[in-house]
Chain length 617, copies 2
């Protein structure tokens, strides 16, 4: 699944009167703090993909329950900015609250910096909790408001003073990842990071990306939904290593493993005083501080630049984390096989059941989840399971609820995009399952999607290629039909970590600030072209691929992909004559392997079905 495909779980519907009262309380707090406009984004302190309840201040104050939105409040006005996925829902939830809806990206709708620049007066003060605003957005606000000499007050969380029953700050148990699961000790990883710091001539490295921190310190937690991470910060110098954690999360095991690696543990909330103290001797004494500007908060950014001697760049930890060790890969290959068995069993069950028994998208998702839960290493799903029938599959972010889920019948297609968190890896796989006869035109597109997926998977390329060089292999068959999908073709996948990670990806369009990394042996990426036709249907076929060395010739080191996913592609959607010979052979070869690898773990009925489902075409 792609980031856009995610919608958040959980919400609390609130009475409009309560909302109006909360806004009044915020306005009182603003007057007391001398703040004219107050901004509340939807983010935690680490720019995580999901926010836990503690960070749902925007929802608390506006009643809007969507996963994306920013609230701006002044004494007279209040506005909420959200994207196209939520226009209808936000309209309903904001009714009678006095909050105006700003439909992002629509013609004539100002963005937030622009709105503030126009509405605020010379010399007024804009407030927000700088820990929940990215450095990048904060800089945009600075630029927009500098003309009017507007001051930014970022040190205080005003919502905290009025949110009586605020959920507690996320704090799960810290778990240590034994070296036999990841192949590298914390000491070895620290040494690799320090080598990268030397290359950058950095004396210190600040780390705030939670999955980077988990990887570096061989820790895991449960502070963010679907992401097995702990709220934490990290700070390295040539000699010292600090991790900032909540005392309550610590186990004796953690204390021991950190001590062994020479890592000093400090309290999570002491990061700012710690940095102030560290910087006190002044730039000349301290050398260059390096940090990743895509993730750091505005609060940290201001602190760093007050200090003065910084360099922004791509996190060296991210780059190291992306290349999986041989130990990790051996676990990953095993767990992807188990995950593929579950998904294959799901497809069999779905094909047998849909149209015969009462069944909704929601039921299908729960059945798939239950198959994963049956795997001994299972810990959690890696994102909310997408089970989208017919036109619902045209929405990349669709998540069926028990109440509103569509009923499945013996027609159309169900798109199932899902993954698991396991002891031994993080998975992600999509198959579009055909439940009845589909028109020829749909089959053509289904075939083009499969062709693209297989063409990229079968690429042979020189070392040095990035996803930009390869994207057209997956996208070309759709471009030939005059179609495009509005997202990347693939993303990196974590190891017992976030299902989305960088720096590698498969995309065609150059975007400033989106990193582009050379595909190195040991990286893993998804390969997921698709077709999305609004109000009609959606098709996506996704395998996860491992990058590996193919062979070296006089012309250089050639690379290739090897699939990690072993799930049949629904032949009911394939027009073999429309597939170029190479991809048809690749499909047959892939299906032969699927049968070989998966059939030993199936019942007799399932096995008979799989034989047919993986037949040569």
């Amino acid at each position: 699944m792609d980031k856009k495909q995610i919608q958040e779980r959980g919400s609390f519907m609130t009475d409009k009167k309560v909302i109006r009262q909360r806004l009044r309380m915020l306005r009182t707090a603003m007057r007391e703090a001398g703040v004219d406009y107050y901004l509340i984004p939807t983010a935690d302190y680490h720019n995580s993909e999901y926010v836990s309840d503690y960070f749902k201040a925007r929802e608390f104050l506006s009643g809007f329950t969507g996963s994306n939105g920013t609230l701006v409040v002044s004494q007279e006005e209040a506005g909420l900015w959200t994207d196209g996925r939520y226009f209808v829902q936000a309209q309903k939830e904001l009714e009678d609250t006095g909050i105006q809806l700003f439909r992002m990206q629509e013609a004539g709708v100002p963005d937030i910096p622009d709105y503030l620049r126009r509405h605020m007066w010379e010399g007024q003060r804009l407030g927000f909790d700088g820990r929940t605003v990215t450095a990048r957005f904060g800089k945009q606000l600075e630029t927009a408001l500098s003309e009017k000499q507007i001051n930014i007050v970022f040190e205080r969380d005003l919502v905290d003073t009025i949110w009586q029953e605020r959920p507690s700050f996320p704090c799960s148990r810290a778990e240590t990842v034994p070296v036999q699961y990841c192949g590298l000790s914390v000491a070895e990883k620290l040494s690799a990071v320090r080598n990268k710091m030397k290359e950058e001539k950095a004396s210190a490295l600040f780390i705030s990306r939670l999955d980077d921190l988990m990887w570096l310190f061989n820790l895991r937690g449960n502070d963010v939904a679907y992401n097995p991470v702990l709220m934490s910060y990290g700070f390295l110098t040539e000699k010292e290593a600090y991790i900032f954690l909540q005392a309550r999360s610590l186990q004796r095991e953690t204390l021991e493993s950190m001590k062994e690696a020479g890592v000093v543990i400090r309290d999570y909330f002491s990061i700012i005083p710690f940095l102030r103290e560290y910087f006190a001797p002044g730039p000349a004494k301290r050398g260059i501080l390096f940090y990743d500007d895509r993730n750091v908060s505005y609060t940290m950014y201001r602190l760093f630049w007050a200090y003065g001697n910084c360099r922004e760049g791509s996190s060296p930890v991210e780059a190291l984390k992306a290349v999986k060790t041989e130990t990790e890969l051996s676990y990953i290959r095993k767990i992807y096989l188990k995950d593929s068995i579950a998904v294959t069993k799901f497809i069999y069950w779905l094909k047998q059941t849909a149209g015969k028994e009462e069944l909704t998208e929601y039921d299908a998702a729960r059945y798939l989840d239950s198959l994963r839960q049956g795997i001994p290493e299972f810990l959690d799903v890696s994102f909310p399971t997408i089970s989208a029938y017919k036109e619902n599959a045209a929405m990349m972010h669709y998540e069926a609820t028990e109440k509103d889920a569509a009923s499945l019948s013996a027609e159309g297609m169900l798109l199932a995009d899902s993954g698991g968190q396991y002891l031994g890896g993080t998975t992600d796989v999509t198959r579009t399952v055909i439940l009845g006869e589909i028109p020829q035109e749909v089959k053509e597109r289904f075939t083009a999607v499969a062709t693209g997926m297989l063409r990229l998977a079968g690429a042979r390329f020189l070392h040095g290629c990035t996803g930009r060089n390869l994207d057209i292999l997956a996208r070309g068959p759709l471009w030939d039909l005059g179609m495009d999908y509005k997202c990347g073709t693939g993303h990196g996948v974590g190891y017992m970590l976030n299902v989305h990670e960088g720096p590698q990806n498969i995309r065609w369009r150059y975007e400033k600030n989106v990193p582009e990394a050379v595909l190195e042996a040991g990286m893993i990426v998804t390969d997921e072209p698709g077709v999305y036709l609004e109000d009609r249907y959606g098709i996506r076929t996704e395998n996860v691929l491992e990058v590996r060395e193919a062979f070296r010739t006089g012309d250089g080191q050639f690379m290739e992909f090897a699939p990690l996913t072993w799930v049949p592609i629904d032949l009911d959607g394939i027009l073999p004559r429309q597939m170029p010979e190479r991809e048809r052979e690749a499909l047959n070869g892939y299906h032969r392997e699927v049968y070989e690898k998966i059939s030993p773990y199936l019942t007799e009925e399932e096995r008979a079905w799989l034989q047919e489902a993986t037949r040569e075409v």
Copy 2:
């Protein structure tokens, strides 16, 4: 042909004693000028692809006749840096001159900045003619030498004082291009450039690329071999436009057309005093000066930065020039057809003659040139015709001389890469012609090259793609065989201008400072994958393609290529079963069109042959 494929014509072998004497004279001049080290590159004042005799100071002083080399002289030492193409030749030509050969890129060989940094003493002075050194290389020298407080003296051409019989400064007749040939008047072009200047917030634009200047002022000349350009500079402000030309080159026609467009003509050699005077009022009065840092000389760079308010970037003129007008395209299509007829006739002749009559590579090249000369619009070849037999074709830059040319027999392959300058366009085309039976393995590679060429030519892609997105289409069939060609797949082509132009290109590897432009309708690019096996053979198949809009759908504007070249691809090298169906169909479709377009212009024998040569496979 690619830039690397070019070798220069003309040289003057010189007695070693004469060389040693010239070096003594230079050393005397250096002592008088207070210069400790003097550097002489191979370049004119505009970083042109070829240098005329006036600029062959390095050859004059060293006796080395290769097209690439830089000489460094001190009182005690002298060194010449050149690349792998010339190691053997340079070794021979430098013998007994006291000049040491530095083999560029070889292990342990310092580059020039490094050499100077190690050899020069604190406070010494390095001299060169700053007009012949690019700003980029000059900056590298500055960086390398700043530690040792070495001064750079760039204002004097010391060679001029000792070069008694220096060839005259190139000065050909200025020719005006009538609007009916290019579609846009000078006034219209100036207005388009000024719009781009506004976007860049630039008050002034300095132009030193000769083909940019020719395009902008609708002029042509003959001051650089194969490039129909005049030695010139340009300077634009919002209101004024200046062109700097040599008075002797001017025709009444030029004077009139410049006057009509409101362009002021100044003397070519007055550019530096002109700029000094222009800048005199100071930065605040003058606004931002914009220039293209890839082409400007070190002298200009120093002058601009003394002035202070500059911005470096890609030339707006280059970007405008690359998109051909409908008028230009209609001439280009016609001239490519005529050029294709000549090349097709050449292939027929070659296939009939080789092995039957005495014939060398050189003879073949001259015969091909003579066929082009028969076209009424012919002006010149657009680069030295490459006619390379067997293993000679493995050298991308090979140029046969009358004396050393290989004899052709009824075996192996001849690679012919050639093009013409015409009234109505500039052409470039490569075919590899099979003169006898070739092994199966060679046919496999020949087929892979043709497959790559056709796959790129048949691409359909969303607007926004650059060459980096598409390169794998041409290169992929070779990568599948574990082979690669060490150059780009394609380059832009001028209109009655340089055969190599930017900013678009087809390459896969990201290179800092190599521009990467979106492929726009009206651009033209070459498509020339190849195989180069040292001491064995070379294969290259090159068509020139026009970029055009294909269609627009809800998903965006789709683009495609249309061929401009109509020359058969030798079916004696093609294994139809090894070609994917799509490319085999494309080949057959292309050959049908070749026959339709070319056959009306052939003799009966030629036509019968062409029918067979374009048969369906």
